[in-house]
């Protein structure tokens, strides 16, 4: 250690001697580690009176002898730009041929070449070859490539933001149109409802009247019969009891039915579970308590749980105890349950959230959605097999389902319905008795139809409103991502990122939600998905998507750096910013300036 110190001292001494000849001036060796633009700061040190310079933080000052003497005088490292004495110091390497680099003072003479020009290793113990030219060339090429991408990207982005503005305006117009239609339709529906209710009232009255008459008639007949025969009254309830018994007798058949249904369910379960089910069966037969409680992991306590442990077979006990550390077995079980759940959720899931927002939607409609999505997902899955990254629209159902009220495709439907209703209302007089039943039917039908349309209209409005409320960035540059999903296939998983909606991880038939759309972060360079499916003994899953400039929208590098906290990147032209392009160009310019010069030297 002393040797090193002496060595360094002798180096500084050496520099010092050289400097004597250049009084009131300095060479670059004096100011080792100082960036050219900062050299002027140290000028005072060479003033005739042997001046001193203040530390940048203003705390102290130092003399020329203290400059790079490998002893930290300034807390901020001003006096030691070229040694590792100050922990907060920074060292500047020129790296001619490549770009200059500022490294931590800890890198100086630490035996590792950090600067491509090797200037950080000047104590003679480590020989660094100058690799700046090669590195610079590679860096320049990469930079050029990046600039090319940005140039194209900026154009695409411009186009997209223009488009987005048009689309947004269109959607706004559409929304206000739909809203006014909704208002009218609501009026119609109310009228029809009123009409329908009046008819129904009349019909009800008629029915009651009719019943009364029939009852009277029946009573009259009965009293006649009574007179003829005696007292059959007792038999009747007995008979009805028999009927009940019959029903009860039939019940075993019903049970059988239920049992076979259960069997089907069980089989389905078995086929889903595959190997896992096998072990469960073994446990069942081995006179030992069946599958352990999935809760006997970390969280559980108390006698019950531990009794379970005692009754486990040796192997299961090992698994169970081990699972406390890993959470694996228990998780596996949860996973199986998830699988079953997911079987019907996989397809529904995409719609779930949607339908929550639209309580008014009928079951039928919902069913349609499912079918549509399922079909569609199959298509996508096929694509995904070939391609590791792909995208699709997730709301095609909107088109299909809403076609009958889609104003663009069929602008006259609205007028039509208004006319029909007018006709109906005129033609039918609800106060007229007796009511013509076919007419009543017509009114009811019209009402149902109009009401159905109203509900669909409302859901459409709600969707559009939701879309328009979303944050698409300052220039609506993310507008086109709405309603789209992007996939990336990694090993056995397919990751699906649907901006503004949700992100999932799919493995075979099982889907795990990585998160619901939260928002953009870090000035629109990150998409956040949160509150996904919960992890055993861990947090709810979440996904952070880092956005990068790229010509196509693609998901890549899906990763799980922390358990159940996922990360991915998504390239999109939306991130190809003009300002950044300019920066890159400037950077290249600086590099190019240095290039020919050093090339000549070489």
């Amino acid at each position: 250690m002393n040797n090193l110190f002496i060595f360094i001292t002798s180096i500084s001494l050496f520099f010092f001697i050289i400097n004597r000849s250049v009084v009131a001036s300095f060479s670059s060796n004096d100011l080792i580690g100082v960036a050219p633009q900062d050299e002027v700061y140290y000028k005072e040190l060479w003033s005739s009176g042997g001046g001193s310079v203040k530390c940048r933080d203003g705390s102290k000052s130092f003399t020329k002898a203290q400059l790079n003497d490998d002893f930290c005088d300034c807390f901020d490292g001003t006096d030691e730009p070229g040694t590792s004495a100050c922990p907060t110091g920074k060292f500047y390497c020129r790296n001619a041929g490549h770009s200059p680099l500022i490294v931590f003072s800890s890198r100086i003479n630490d035996g590792i070449c950090d600067c491509c020009d090797g200037s950080d290793e000047y104590d003679g113990k480590t020989n660094c070859t100058n690799t700046c030219w090669e590195a610079g060339k590679v860096a320049r090429d990469a930079l050029k490539q990046k600039i090319a991408t940005y140039q194209q990207g900026v154009t695409i982005r411009k186009h997209e933001t223009d488009e987005a503005k048009i689309s947004a305006a269109k959607d706004e117009a559409e929304l206000s149109k739909l809203k006014s239609e909704e208002k009218v339709l609501k009026g119609i529906v109310e009228k029809l409802k009123e009409h329908k209710e009046q008819i129904e009232k009349v019909l009800e009255k008629e029915r009651i009247q009719k019943e009364k008459e029939e009852k009277q008639k029946k009573e009259a007949e009965e009293s006649k019969l009574k007179e003829q025969k005696g007292e059959d009254k007792v038999d009747e309830p007995v008979k009805s009891d028999d009927d009940k018994a019959d029903i009860l007798d039939n019940s075993p058949a019903g049970q059988e039915h239920a049992e076979s249904a259960l069997e089907v369910v069980h089989n389905a379960h078995a086929s889903l579970d595959n190997g896992e089910e096998h072990s469960v069966m073994e446990e069942d037969t081995s006179e030992v308590a069946p599958v352990s409680d999935p809760d006997t992991g970390l969280g559980s306590k108390g006698e019950d749980a531990t009794k379970d442990i005692d009754s486990l077979s040796r192997e299961d006990l090992g698994r169970e105890i081990g699972s406390r550390w890993t959470g694996k077995k228990t998780e596996q079980q949860n996973h199986d349950v998830d699988d079953v759940k997911n079987d019907d959720r996989t397809s529904v899931d995409v719609q779930d959230e949607e339908s929550n927002g639209y309580d008014t939607e009928t079951e039928e409609d919902h069913q349609n959605y499912e079918d549509d999505t399922e079909d569609h997902m199959d298509d996508v899955a096929d694509e995904a097999n070939d391609d590791s990254s792909s995208s699709y629209n997730y709301e095609p159902d909107e088109e299909v389902d809403m076609s009958d009220i889609e104003s663009e495709s069929n602008p006259s439907w609205f007028e039509k319905i208004k006319k029909t209703v007018r006709d109906v209302l005129q033609a039918i007089n609800p106060l007229q008795t007796p009511v013509d039943t076919s007419e009543a039917e017509t009114v009811r039908k019209e009402y149902d139809e109009a009401n159905g349309k109203l509900l669909k209209l409302r859901s459409k409005i709600s969707r559009l409103t939701k879309k328009l409320k979303s944050d698409f960035g300052p220039e609506k540059e993310f507008y086109s991502l709405y309603g789209q999903c992007f996939e990336s296939k990694q090993n056995k998983y397919v990751y699906k990122v649907c901006p503004f909606k949700q992100a999932t991880q799919e493995e075979g038939y099982s889907t795990t939600r990585l998160g619901n759309w939260k928002n953009f972060e870090e000035s629109y360079s990150v998409m956040l998905f949160e509150n996904g499916d919960n992890c055993w003994n861990g947090p709810d899953r979440s996904l952070k998507v880092r956005l990068r400039c790229g010509l196509k929208v693609e998901v890549a590098d899906v990763n799980e750096p922390s358990r159940c906290e996922y990360a991915a990147t998504l390239t999109t032209p939306a991130l190809c910013l003009e300002g950044k392009l300019k920066e890159l160009k400037d950077e290249l310019e600086v590099l190019d300036k240095q290039q020919p010069q050093i090339h000549d030297e070489l």
């Binding site: 192997e315 006990l317 105890i321 081990g322 861990g538």
Partner: protein, 824 residues
């Protein structure tokens, strides 16, 4: 011995990437006991005893008594902030602290030998030494005979004589062995390969004994020389052994069986109808050799406190476990166990066992007692007044702490150390079991671990982040997931396709890698280790003689029988670069689960009736199993490097002597303040009992530490001998740069302080290597006269020159105090 930091040593370390060497004037020590805190500098105030501390970033304002965690915030904001934290913290506590499954482990009442020994009455021992002679080997020997009882027919239940021997070693060490006649089929186990070979050469050959009548004794007692100023007395009736200051009225130092609690269950033939089996929960212990336990009392005189007997998560000064005012307390248990989520205050036995106790007091100073025995042990510290009923005639003018030692099997092989200074005792102990191995410099730096760094890219990324954030570190660790299906010595080639390249890349920046190798071997015919071990019969056997088949990470597993030196040698060869495919010279090893942990065994370990080499039952050597495994691994690395590369092996289980083979850590702790707090006494205790190179997982293994706790943990751990961040796979990532620039800076500073002090630490490790005096010391080791230090386990000394006080609570707005001993 210790040199203070050389202020001229500017770049203190030349090793690659041992960066960030501070060169500030403040490191020039001005006084022999510079007080450096973590990261607080203490500044003496008018009140000489107490010192107020300041955050070192706010030391511009040294008159303020407030202590700030983040000086940028206003105090008002902060208090709210902390209250929120506190609330969160409390709610967190309520949900997680009770995961330790107490009922799955035996307590004393469920352990027959313990229950029995605890219920014995003082003076129930009816043995007296006879035929006392000095042998040709310079030992004093005797036969311990049962005293004839005039009230009883002595022909019944007559135990054979026990063999007693007493030897004296250099520097005030007394060794007492009590054994039964070994002419039986089953030999009682004597723990091999723990006592140093060279220790025997330090034996003082006894030439003669002196006879003396003590008090009103009817029989003569025997007195021999121990060391200058001390002698040993073998008292005949009542039978006891004690060390005293020279002269018939000399003050007692230590004594054995002064309360007559000695009992030795000799092996015997099973009587008809006798049931020797022991059942605990679903497990049955066949106990083919029946009861064979040993118990006795040991008294420490002039003692204010007793210390030692790790591993327990408890205070440094051991609290009484029995006696007036102590209700329902368990003895300190020594039984190596893999305890899931252990508690921060419990006498329950953890991963390792060292049956070595020290006492310290104002009047005598320090003394020590060590029982070399590897079976389950239970130790009671008896609170004063425990013997009020028994009318024991011991000198009452001397302060005394009595203890009760109980073991399931083995023999009495006991060592008494006279001290009288704290460092004398640890040196005396080290002369029996060895000093700690000298670590390589890299091992004393910062280690980064996680279960698990997933793949090569992850490793690369973490490694480069350290450089990016200018945080020094030396070793990157890979946990079990790096293997191919938990087959140790293999790699998961999907995740780690090029392990050599990965290690070489780290090595190019002077860094090392550590991989995990556990003693459970996957029972898989395609796995070369299993194939060889089963073919050669290298596994521990079950009671029926078949290879014992337990359950651990890989599933069905067997356990290498490390007690056999030949098997250890075979195992050591597995670490040759040619054998361990994918290893390079910069790879070192981590031995985990070596208690051994058996997921489906009784108390998560191996059945006591499992059989080892030499027909030794597992019950007899349980606590030493992990030690032999550690030894074999360490020997492997030594062989690999041709004797020129000092091994680094971290072990979870330990036993006396472990210090010669490597490092230990305190196992699976939890990310809670109280666990940070208890890590200090745990590490200090390990240091006192020989294992100086120890540490706790920084941040806590289970759970997510809040940022303040993590920062505090780094700040304290930087001053502890083994410095490694580690985390469970369910936790969030917690590398030091993930908590915002401010916290990155705090953690970076903490780690850098460690690197700044590396030469000091390295020097201290060398001191420990030569003398046995630990790197991290309880205050009373440096200030033995100062009673205020005796039970302080919040502050500690690094060497003799640095006092460290950690912060173990969320600091609200209160001032913070540490003890500052007066300069001696």
């Amino acid at each position: 011995m210790i040199t203070n930091l050389n202020p001229n040593a500017n770049t203190l370390i030349n090793s690659k990437r041992f960066r960030t060497i501070l060169n500030c004037k403040k490191l020039k020590t001005k006084s022999p006991h510079q007080t450096l805190t973590s990261p607080l500098f203490s500044t003496p105030q008018k009140n000489k005893e107490k010192t107020y501390l300041f955050h070192h970033f706010t030391h511009k304002n040294p008159n303020s008594y407030s202590y700030y965690y983040d000086h940028n915030n206003t105090t008002m904001k902060k208090s709210i902030h902390y209250l929120i934290y506190l609330t969160l913290f409390l709610s967190y506590l309520t949900t997680t602290t009770h995961s330790w499954k107490k009922e799955e482990f035996r307590n004393c009442n469920q352990t027959p030998f313990c229950k029995r020994a605890r219920s014995r009455h003082p003076h129930s021992c009816n043995l007296i030494p006879s035929d006392v002679t000095i042998t040709n080997n310079g030992d004093l020997v005797a036969k311990l005979k049962t005293k004839p009882n005039p009230d009883q027919d002595s022909s019944d239940d007559h135990n054979p004589d026990l063999e007693f021997s007493l030897s004296v070693y250099k520097d005030g060490i007394l060794r007492v062995k009590i054994h039964e006649n070994q002419e039986k089929d089953k030999k009682r186990f004597e723990v091999p390969d723990v006592v140093l070979d060279e220790f025997e050469s330090q034996k003082l050959w006894l030439q003669r004994f002196k006879k003396e009548v003590i008090g009103d004794d009817l029989l003569e007692s025997f007195v021999v020389y121990l060391s200058d100023g001390y002698e040993v007395v073998l008292r005949s009736d009542p039978f006891e052994v004690f060390v005293r200051e020279q002269g018939s009225g000399g003050a007692r130092i230590l004594s054995f069986n002064s309360h007559g609690l000695f009992d030795f269950e000799q092996l015997r033939v099973k009587k008809e109808g006798e049931d020797w089996e022991e059942r605990f929960r679903s497990h049955t212990d066949s106990r083919p050799y029946g009861p064979q336990s040993i118990s006795f009392d040991v008294s420490f005189y002039g003692a204010d406190f007793v210390y030692g007997i790790p591993e327990h998560a408890t205070s440094l000064a051991l609290k009484p476990t029995s006696g007036p005012g102590v209700e329902e307390s368990e003895p300190y248990r020594l039984f190596n166990l893999d305890v899931f989520e252990y508690l921060a205050e419990s006498p329950f036995g953890l991963y390792g066992s060292i049956p070595f106790m020290l006492s310290h007091g104002k009047s005598h100073g320090t003394s020590g007692f060590f029982w070399l025995n590897a079976a389950e042990m239970q130790i009671d510290v008896l609170g004063s007044g425990w013997d009020a009923e028994s009318k024991i005639a011991l000198p009452s003018d001397q302060k005394r702490i009595d203890t009760l030692w109980m073991s399931e099997a083995g023999i009495v092989d006991a060592f008494f150390f006279v001290g009288p200074k704290p460092k004398d005792v640890v040196k005396q102990y080290a002369s029996v079991t060895g000093t700690s191995a000298m670590p390589q410099l890299f091992a004393t730096g910062y280690h980064q671990c996680r279960w698990n760094y997933k793949d090569e890219e992850d490793v690369k990324n973490v490694d480069s982040k350290f450089d990016e954030h200018d945080i020094p570190y030396d070793v990157l660790w890979l946990d079990i997931e790096h293997t191919d299906g938990k087959r140790y010595f293999t790699w998961d080639r999907t995740l780690f396709p090029n392990p050599e390249q990965m290690q070489n890349d780290l090595a190019s920046r002077g860094r090392r890698m550590v991989t995990i190798v556990d003693p459970h071997i996957k029972r898989d015919e395609g796995y070369h280790i299993h194939k060889e071990a089963s073919k050669n019969g290298y596994y521990v056997k079950d009671a029926s003689g078949k290879d014992y088949d337990g359950w651990c990470w890989p599933g069905s597993s067997s356990y290498i029988d490390m007690v056999n030196p030949d098997i250890r040698s075979w195992w050591a060869d597995k670490f040759a670069l040619s054998e361990y495919v994918g290893s390079t010279p910069s790879l070192y090893i981590w031995n985990d689960m070596n208690e051994p942990s058996v997921f489906n065994g009784p108390e998560v370990t191996m059945p006591r009736d499992a059989l080892h080499y030499g027909n030794v039952e597992h019950r007899e050597l349980h606590n030493a199993y992990g030690y032999y495994f550690h030894m074999a691994t360490s020997d492997g690395l030594l062989k690999r490097g041709g004797g020129n590369d000092r091994p680094f092996v971290l072990s979870r289980a330990f036993f006396p002597g472990t210090q010669r083979y490597g490092t230990v850590w305190t196992g699976d702790n939890t990310a809670e303040w109280e666990q940070l707090r208890v890590s200090i006494p745990m590490i200090l205790t390990l240091g006192l009992t020989g294992i100086t190179f120890s540490g706790a997982d920084v941040g806590g293994f289970f759970g997510n530490p809040d940022t303040e706790l993590l920062v505090r943990w780094y700040q304290v751990a930087a001053y502890l001998p083994f410095f490694r961040g580690h985390a469970h796979h369910d936790t969030k990532r917690r590398e030091p740069w993930l908590f915002g620039e401010r916290n990155t800076q705090l953690m970076r500073d903490a780690i850098r302080v460690r690197y700044t002090l590396l030469p000091y630490f390295y020097t201290l490790f060398r001191e420990a290597n030569v003398t046995g005096v630990p790197v991290a010391r309880p205050l009373w080791m440096e200030f033995p006269e100062d009673e205020a230090t005796y039970s302080n386990d919040e502050a500690f000394m690094v060497g003799n020159g640095l006092l460290v006080q950690g912060v173990y609570t969320q600091v609200l707005l209160f001032s913070f105090m540490t003890y500052s001993p007066p300069y001696g």
